[in-house]
Every structure is written in C-alpha cells, then in structure tokens.
C-alpha cells in the first residue's frame, strides 16, 4: 500500500468530471505536501488542478507559483492555484454593498462602508466565501481531478456542513413564501376575479434549494468526492482525524484514505524518546474502522530534508509504506529497545 495505491483507489471510484479530492488535517501535518503528491500522481492519468485553500499559502513557495489566485501550469497535466481569501472576500462584500445600494437607496442610516465591515466580520462569512468557490470547482469540468488542500479542520468541516444549513433556511423560506403567494392569490381572486399564482421569488427559492441539494449530494457522493485525512503520529492530529471521520459520517460519507505523515524511523524515535507516543498514535489510526473496502491507510516516513518542492516531494513520496508495516517495526524496536 503506497500513495500510488491510494491514487488508484481514487481513480477507481471517480465517476464524474471533475472528481474532487479533499485533503483534510491539522496544520503542519503535511496537508499541502500530501496534496502535491496525490495531485502529481493523478496528473499522469488526467488533467489535474491542485487548489490550496490554506491561507498559510505555502503552495506558492513549494511550487514556485508567481502569484496567488491565478491558475498556473506546474508540470505536464498538473495545474495549481493558491486561493486568496481576501480577494474573494472583497468581491463578495463588493457585490453585497452594490445590491444594498440598489435595494435600499432610502436606508441612509446604514452607510455602505459600515455594512461592508459588518459583513466581513460576521460569523460564518469566510466559510460562505469558501463555499462559493468550492461550488464553482464542482462545476469546472475542464479538469478530471481537482485536489483541494484545505484550511484548518474546523473551518473545513463548517464549509462542508454549510449546504445543509442553507437547505434548512431555504425550506423555511419556501414554506413562508408559499403561504404569502397563497394569500396573495386569494386576495387577488376576491378583488379582481382573476389571480396570478406564479411568483418569481418562490421560483428562485426552489431553484436555490435544488442547487444546494445537488451540492450537498456531490460533497457526500464518494463517486464525486474523495476525502483523504492526514495526521502525524501524535495524539492531537490523530484526535482531529477521528473527529473529522465522525463529521464526515454524519454527513453521510467516508474517507478514501488516511495518511500518517512524518513517521520517524523507530531507532531515531527511540533515541528521541518518542517511540511510545508514535506507536500508540499509529495503532490508534490503525484501529479506526473504515466502512468501505477502499479505505486505505498508509504511512509516509519523515524525510531528512523537508520535501518543499515538487522534485523533493516526488522523492519523499517513494517512502510510503502500509501503516500496518510500521506497527510491526515499532513493536520490534520497542521490545528490543
């Protein structure tokens, strides 16, 4: 079991263009690095866009991209873009204040600058900006695979939950709007004798509901989205992986693979006095029960130098082994040491 096997598992489940590969994990565990590795392998089988939503923006450095928010060809069929939240957020607030000016020219109490500020700082705003971008990615069929390097886990999980939250709001709005339209119809019938049942707003609400149901479906459809969870062999990153699996299950999906990155060679780990923690963490991941046969668990060994370029990532990528193999080595070193 190597990263290649994981990539092939993804290729096998993928049933529509683009197939989205979402890489989730705690900051620093190697999300961006693993994303590059997976995207690189997939690009031998089709056109790939690697998107980093992570605002640490390390992708710029790793792949020597010229600037953020622009798609660049990296190598062969591999393309990459570092998403810039600020640019996208400004677009969003700009559109919003324009709408406000059109809708409520009379509302002078609220000055537009202030509203933009309120919007920018309102809870959930960033997640909504991310979701807009994500939903565009799902429609971008120029690529066979889109690999997404995600923002911090908490933000990512809230983004994945958003379509369902939207659906809840839309259901309530639809119910209310249907009553409004029904009443308006009754009033017009009595007064005018004829009435119009059609309502543009209600039609729009139905359309939006349909779109978000579709998006929520794609997010949880294993044929459209593969989730790869990344951790290092330490308690907190492993805890986050478990938490993420729970959320994914609540949503109705499963990860296609779990990667334990930066596994320190046992002898060295022993000298550093961390082999016990490492072994426990790895066994913890090994004990996670996957509900699909395709769920692959692998380990990537700690490289001497950080794999912070495409070439170095390709070298480091070779050092992947099945997670279970690391446990055997771990036991041996534990009992001998």
């Amino acid at each position: 079991m190597t990263l290649e096997d994981l990539a092939h598992a993804i290729i096998n489940v993928a049933k529509d263009k683009p197939h989205i590969v979402t890489v989730i994990g705690k900051g620093g565990v190697g999300k961006t690095t693993v994303s590059i590795m997976i995207a690189d392998i997939l690009s031998k089988k089709g056109k790939v866009l690697l998107v980093s939503l992570d605002q640490a923006m390390h992708l710029l450095k790793y792949l020597s991209l010229r600037r953020a928010h622009v798609v660049e060809r990296v190598d062969g069929e591999l393309y990459a873009i570092q998403f810039d939240l600020e640019t996208e957020a400004r677009k969003f607030t700009g559109e919003y204040s324009l709408l406000l000016r059109q809708i409520m020219p009379g509302l002078k109490v609220l000055n537009v600058e202030k509203v933009t500020d309120v919007v920018r700082n309102s809870p959930g705003f960033e997640e909504e900006v991310y979701l807009r971008f994500l939903s565009k990615l799902y429609d971008d069929d120029r690529y066979d695979y889109i690999v997404i390097d995600t923002p911090p886990t908490g933000v990512t999980l809230r983004i994945l939950n958003l379509p369902r939250m939207y659906m809840f709001w839309l259901d309530n709005l639809i119910e209310l709007r249907e009553r409004i339209v029904g009443l308006r119809y009754a009033i017009q019938r009595v007064i005018r004798g004829r009435a119009e049942m059609r309502d543009e707003v209600l039609d729009k609400l139905y359309e939006m509901k349909e779109n978000y149901v579709k998006l929520a479906g794609m997010i949880t459809d294993q044929g459209r989205t593969s989730y790869i969870l990344v951790a290092t062999p330490e308690p907190l990153p492993v805890y986050e992986v478990k938490k993420t699996i729970n959320v994914l299950r609540e949503l109705g999906t499963e990860p296609v693979g779990i990667v334990v990155n930066k596994v320190i060679p046992w002898e060295l780990a022993g000298k550093m006095g961390i082999s016990g923690v490492q072994l426990e963490s790895i066994m913890d991941v090994d004990a996670i029960k996957c509900r699909t046969s395709t769920c692959i668990k692998i380990a990537i060994l700690m490289n001497e130098k950080p794999p912070d370029t495409l070439e170095k990532a390709r070298e480091a990528m070779v050092k992947t082994i099945p997670l279970s193999a690391t446990i055997k080595h771990g036991y041996r070193s534990q009992s001998s040491g």
Binding site: F92, E95, Y96, L99, L100, Q102, I103, M104, G106, L107, L110, V115, V118, V119, S122, P123, G124, F125, E128, L131, R132, L162, M165, Y166, W169, L170, N172, L173, L176, R177, R179, I180, L183, R184, A186, I187, Q188, V190, I191, R192, E200, V201, K204, L205, M208
Partner: protein
Amino acid sequence: MVGSMGIKWILDPLKNVVSELAKLMEGMRQSIKEQSVEVLQLEYLELENAFLTIIFGGLVGMPLMPLGLSMELAPYLMEEVRFLESRHARGKDTIGDFFSSMGGEW
C-alpha cells in the same frame, strides 16, 4: 281598476322592500368580502414583513440567515423591499399602498 290599484298599492312598497333588501344584502356581501379581504391582507403584510426581516435582518444586527443566501435572493426582492419602505414612509394607508403595489386598475 280598483283591484289593480289595490294590487299596485300592495306591490309598490313591496318592490321597494325587495329592492331595499337586495341593496342591503349586496351591501352586506360587499362588506363581508371587504372584511375578509382585509383580514387576508393584514396577514399577507405580516408575512411579507417577516420574510424580508429574515432575509435582511442580519443588516440590523440580528444573527439570522446566512449572507450568501440573502445575496442570492436579494435581486428578486427589490420591488418588495421598495413597497415595504414606502409603507413605512406613508404610514397608515397600508391597504392603499397594497393595492398600488399590486399594480392594475383598482
């Protein structure tokens, strides 16, 4: 003659009563109609208000629905917001506003 006079004497007031009665009933029908319409209109206005408040309430500090949804819907609600605004501006004449907002010849 006398007979016909007698009949007319009976019939004329009766005709009046009938037409009065008809007028009265027509009036009642009309007022019931208007009353029921008024009730419907009030409920309608309440719901419209609630609907727009949910969508735009975030702007006045009520943590209500997600902004992205409001934004998607907003272009479709321009007219309704203007109507509600004008109602605030003009005060009590809700029904008049309501009629004019629905367009047509009232």
